[in-house]
Symmetry: C3
Subunit: 154 residues, 3 copies
C-alpha cells in the first residue's frame, strides 16, 4: 500500500498490530451504510494483555499507553474494514473509552487521550471525534482500558 494514511503511519513510525481476533462469539466490525462499528478493543501489547487497576497499581502514563494500544487495534480493524485502504476513512466519528479504575479515580479524559491523540496524529482534522470516557467497575481479562469506535468510510 502507498496510500496517504499509510505514508503518514510510516512517517510516524507506527506499525499497526495484526487485527486482534474477537474474544468471543462476535465479529471485529460491522459496516452499515457508511458507518463502521468496531468492537471494543482491549489493551494489549506484544507480550499480552495490559492489565491492572488504574488509580491503584497503574499510573496515568501507563494507562495512556494502554489507551494508545487500544487505538492501534482500532486502526488495525479499521484497515481491515476498508479492505486495506485507510484512505477511505472519511471521519473518526466517535470513541467510547472505558477505564478499569478505582472508585475514586478522576482522570479518565487524560487516559483516553492516549487513543484520541493517535487519531489526530494519523488522520489530522478527520481524526477529530466525539468521545465519552467513563470508569468501568471491571474489564475483560483485567485490562486497563477498552475502547470501541464508530467511523465513517467512503
Amino acid at each position: 500500500m502507498t496510500g496517504t494514511i499509510d505514508a503518514r503511519l510510516a512517517s510516524l513510525g507506527i506499525v499497526l498490530p495484526d487485527a486482534p481476533a474477537p474474544a468471543a462469539n462476535y465479529v471485529p466490525f460491522v459496516q452499515s451504510g457508511t458507518l463502521v462499528f468496531i468492537s471494543g478493543q482491549v489493551a494489549q501489547g506484544p507480550d499480552g494483555f495490559l492489565t491492572g487497576k488504574v488509580g491503584a497499581e497503574i499510573d496515568i502514563p501507563t494507562a495512556q499507553n494502554a489507551a494508545r494500544a487500544c487505538g492501534l487495534a482500532l486502526l488495525a480493524q479499521l484497515r481491515a474494514a476498508c479492505g486495506g485502504d485507510l484512505d477511505r476513512v472519511v471521519r473518526v466519528v466517535k470513541l467510547t473509552g472505558f477505564v478499569n479504575a478505582t472508585p475514586d479515580f478522576t482522570e479518565h479524559p487524560a487516559v483516553i487521550n492516549g487513543s484520541s491523540d493517535l487519531m489526530a496524529e494519523v488522520f489530522g482534522p478527520a481524526g477529530a471525534h466525539a468521545r465519552a470516557a467513563v470508569g468501568a467497575g471491571s474489564l475483560p481479562f483485567n485490562v486497563q482500558v477498552e475502547i470501541e469506535g464508530i467511523f465513517e468510510i467512503a
Copy 2:
C-alpha cells in the same frame, strides 16, 4: 406470522417474551434511517429481575443465562420495531453488554456470549455483530446484565 425467522425461532423452541415496558421516561426503540437503536434491556425472567453481583454470588453460567434473557428482550423489541416481521432484519450491527460484576471479575466476554450466541442461532450470518462487553459498577434493580443493541432493518 409465518416468516423465516419466526419459523427458526419455533424450531429452536424459543418463545419471545412480551416486549418489556421501559423502566422510565423513554421508549423501547427509535428508528433513524435503516438503523434501529434499542434501549438497554435489563435481565428478567418470568419471575422478575435476575439480580446479583457476577463474580460474587452469581457464577458465569447463571450470568450467561441472564445475558440470553437480555437478548430475548432485545428480539422482542426488535420484532415490535419491525412491525412484527423479523424477516425485515438485515443485520445485527452492535451489542453493548454491561455486566454487574465485582471489581476483580474478568470473564465479561463469556457472559455476554449468552446474548451473542442467541443472535447467531436466530439470524445466522446476519446475526454476526460488533460488540463491547464491560463491567458496570452497578446496574438498575441490581440486575446481573444489561444489553443495548443497534440493528439494521429493511
Copy 3:
C-alpha cells in the same frame, strides 16, 4: 432566534449554558449523515462540576438534577451542531447515561430521567428516545453523572 424550540425553551424558563469545551483532545460533536453524535457531557453547574457518589453522599433528587444539567449541556452542544437552529432537530435518538454510583445502587433509571424528562419537555414527541442507564465505577472529575447522545437533524 425565534424558532419554535427556542420559544418553548423560553416558555419553560430554560436558559441553555454555553456549550462546554471538551475536557481533552476531542470535539463536542460529529455529524455523519443525518446523525449527530454528541460527546459525553459531565454534570456541571454555574459553580463547577457536580461531584459525589450517588447512593452514598448524593441522594436521588440531587443526582436527577445533575442528569438534567448533563441534558442542558447536550442541548447546548446540539444547538451548536444545528448552527443555532434547534428547529432542525428531527428526533432525540438515543441517550446513554452513566451514574457514578456505589456498587449497591439500583435507581439509575430514576436518576437519568432528569435528562430524559428535559428532552420530553423541550421536544415533545420528538424527544422520546431510546436509552441505556448504567452504573459507572468512577467518572471524570468525580461527577455524579455523564450522558452522551445521538440526535437526528434535518
